[in-house]
């Protein structure tokens, strides 16, 4: 690991630490609720990154995984202790990772991405159709086992764990194999890499973490409904990933915080939120092609350049 990278990980740890201390000063439940949502989106966006940013297969249907985790909470919440709901949500998401992943594995490039787009739409339809079980458009009520502050800490803890797992993977030989597949999958095959198995592995890893986040998402909203599978939800994750910086794990998490807070500050113009998100994404693609994350590289470089240029 390079020094610059270590520095950024330390920065991320400091940011998480500051967020953990925040409730000491801020007791406004609205602020904590928004930050809880931001942490959950950060979990979804960083878990999306392992397949999309590293292997380079943009997943337009990541909402399937946390949506399934959320619905699992709706179904099982009343019957299971909360500590069992989490593994159940993750397991449900992993089952769907295989369901989505297996037919997608023979596909490459845009075909895989387009296929991932279809799955949340199917689930949205099913949620409407089997209304006896799913509650149709009204969805299911979820009773959270924790207070708002408790959920805030739980989300932050899960985010920290998610980032730690994903960063450990990305720095390992497995993570390098993912990047090699993203660079050139034929060359990876020629190096003896079973690309199919690795793609499925990335699906499963991302899904399990998103499924855990989905459980907290349902607790946080106290509700789960078909809108979780809506196009807006999946596209939001993609936009957060691109704005934050794909293939960096931390970048998409930063993108999630940035866009969630931006979205909340634009509450009055709710209808135009996707428009604003898209505008931000276009600006990023034009001026920051590697996302907000790359600011972490360009700012120190800029400071160094200014420092050198300054008269002594």
């Amino acid at each position: 690991m390079t020094r610059a990278l270590a520095l950024r990980y330390a920065g991320a740890a400091a940011a998480l630490g500051a967020l953990a201390l925040l409730p000491l000063w801020v007791s406004n439940p609205y602020v904590l609720s928004v930050l809880t949502l931001a942490a959950l989106y950060a979990i979804f966006a960083s878990s999306w990154d392992i397949l999309s940013g590293y292997i380079g297969q943009i997943n337009f249907g990541h909402a399937v995984f946390f949506g399934v985790g959320a619905y699992a909470t709706g179904f099982l919440g009343p019957h299971l202790p909360p500590l069992l709901v989490f593994p159940a949500g993750a397991l449900a998401a992993v089952v769907f990772a295989f369901l989505v992943g297996l037919p997608c594995l023979k596909l490459r490039g845009p075909y895989l991405s387009l296929t991932t787009l279809v799955f949340p739409l199917i689930l949205e339809r099913l949620a409407f159709t089997f209304r006896d079980v799913t509650g149709g458009e009204y969805g299911l009520r979820v009773d959270p086992p924790l207070s708002g502050t408790g959920l805030y800490f739980a989300s932050l803890g899960l985010l920290a764990a998610t980032l730690a797992v994903l960063l450990a993977v990305s720095e390992s030989r497995l993570g390098r194999t993912f990047r090699a597949i993203g660079d050139d999958d034929l060359a990876a095959m020629a190096a003896g890499v079973n690309t199919t198995r690795h793609k499925l592995g990335a699906f499963v890893l991302g899904a399990a973490l998103a499924g855990l986040g989905g459980v907290l998402y349902a607790y946080h909203l106290r509700h789960v409904g078909p809108e979780v599978f809506g196009l807006f939800t999946s596209f939001s994750i993609v936009i957060m990933g691109i704005v934050g910086g794909m293939g960096t794990i931390l970048g998409p998490a930063i993108g999630a915080y940035f866009l969630t807070l931006l979205g909340e500050s634009l509450r009055e113009i709710e209808t135009y939120r996707l428009l604003v998100y898209s505008g931000v994404m276009i600006l990023c693609v034009l001026f920051l092609p590697r996302g907000l994350w790359s600011l972490g590289e360009s700012v120190p470089a800029l400071v160094r350049r200014l420092g050198r240029g300054a008269p002594r």
Partner: protein
């Protein structure tokens, strides 16, 4: 000598075009064979069929008696059959060292062991192959920053890191300068001397005619000659294929 690679009546068609037409040949363990032929003769298609990147319509490919045609490319590599690409396909986000360390080694090869015995004890296979192609000093550089010649040698190193019993090189000399050609020739000589079986596609024969005793000539998907360089260059069909019998082979040799 036992055949390590056997290609038996392999036919590959792309829509109407027959890229390979009932091509058969064997390569013995430790042998070095050069496949030549004009553009579009089916040389790269032959490599793709042997390494699992393309499926033949007819015919069999066996490695040490085991069929490999129809296996996925990574499974072929694990059996001990590695290849390089004509146009280098580097992992741009990895360093030179990471690229080689990524390769999944087969248990079929013998070259890594042989080189290891010659080298210092405790040397990793990544170090061994990178030293062999003289890229060890550049192991921490991103692969994308290498020159064309170094990328070609990195292709060879990545293939060697899979510990192959048989190495297929697809036009390794294309795009190299004279110094790089000499470096590559040394690497090929070393590998051949260490007992690695090699099949090399090449346009430019000048470099290889000195090294090889076996040339296979493909023309429009058919094998039209197979023998020593001298035998092949006397073959009337080869003379005809190369510039209508005006002795093109002699010029290359």
């Amino acid at each position: 000598m036992s055949a390590l690679l056997a290609v038996e009546r392999v036919t590959k068609r792309f829509r109407g075009l027959t890229a390979l037409s009932a091509v058969s040949f064997e390569v013995a363990r430790g042998e070095m064979a050069v496949v030549i032929g004009p553009n579009g003769a089916g040389k790269t298609t032959l490599f793709n069929v042997i390494t699992g990147f393309a499926r033949p319509e007819e015919g069999r490919v066996t490695l040490a008696g085991e069929p490999v045609a129809g296996l996925a490319p990574h499974a072929v590599v694990r059996r001990g059959l590695a290849r390089t690409f004509q146009i280098p396909r580097p992992f741009k986000s990895l360093t030179v060292g990471e690229t080689v360390a990524l390769a999944r080694p087969s248990s079929a090869g013998n070259v890594l062991g042989a080189q290891g015995a010659a080298g210092a004890a405790g040397v990793t296979s990544a170090e061994r192959v990178l030293r062999l192609v003289q890229l060890w000093e550049r192991r921490d550089e991103p692969s994308g920053t290498l020159s064309q010649g170094d990328l070609k040698l990195l292709e060879v190193a990545r293939a060697l890191a899979t510990n192959p019993a048989l190495l297929l090189l697809d036009e390794p000399y294309a795009g190299l300068g004279p110094g790089e050609m000499a470096r590559l020739t040394r690497v090929v000589m070393d590998l051949h001397a260490a007992g690695l079986t090699l099949v090399i596609i090449e346009h430019k024969l000048r470099e290889l005619m000195k090294l090889t005793r076996r040339v296979i000539v493909l023309h429009y998907g058919e094998k039209i000659a197979d023998g020593t360089p001298a035998e092949v260059s006397r073959e009337p069909r080869v003379l005809e294929a190369y510039m209508g019998g005006r002795g093109g082979m002699a010029e290359h040799a």
